[in-house]
Symmetry: C2
Subunit: 104 residues, 2 copies
DNA sequence: CTTTCATTTCAACGATTCTTGAAATATAAA
DNA sequence: TTTATATTTCAAGAATCGTTGAAATGAAAG
């Protein structure tokens, strides 16, 4: 992962609504949640939730699958884990002090 | 750490120049580097480097200390580790799949 | 006390992001 | 085939971000 790519991913995490989305999608597990359910849970209008879900989808942090009328979103752990690994191992060269600070 | 605070921290990481700064400051170790050295290493004008260093300093990701004419910047592992811990443990509830994906 | 060096601050500008509400699309039900 | 449901897309506007180069600040040297 390039610095540019990581920066884009961090940009996707740089919004409280989207962190809320990630939180509830992780909680929801592999079955995920519909866009509407996400909107309700984070207290956002459909359009606003859709905007944030799209942002997360475009960078690969969430997956999307149509289920009849609903679009079901779920967390992509691989992508999120890859970003953490970039920060920890590549950007910060596996620095021991850093790992100690995050319990890794 | 609140979602709002984490979002601000992720925002500070959402720029390739700033990830470059973090990389070289981690590499430089506890002694850090002057603003001028940072600027040279990332290939930026003094003013642009200063802007990015300030952004990182304001959110506590780097520390700053004057040494005669130079301002010496160094990485704050505690803050960076705290953010990773937020994502891993709080936001993602210690999810095992995620931890596996980043080697934690 | 003037000059030099290191860095920040500022103003201006363009680019990007976020929100809102209305209109469009896709799917299913009546 | 009309209607209802679920979601996205769009346009407009406000807010924030990033770059540039010039001016200001802080600290040391001559």
């Amino acid at each position: 992962m390039t610095e540019e790519e990581a920066a884009v991913l961090f940009g996707a995490l740089s919004n409280a609504d989207r962190l809320g989305v990630i939180r509830i999608l992780v909680e929801a597990g592999p079955d995920g949640l519909s866009a509407g359910q996400v909107a309700k849970k984070i207290g956002a209008t459909p359009s606003r939730a859709s905007f944030h879900l799209s942002t997360l989808y475009e960078v690969g942090i969430v997956a999307k699958e149509r289920h009849s009328r609903s679009l079901i979103y779920s967390a992509n752990f691989g992508r999120l884990g890859g970003l953490i690994a970039f920060l920890l191992d590549d950007c910060c060269k596996g620095n021991a002090a850093l790992k100690a600070c995050c319990g890794c």
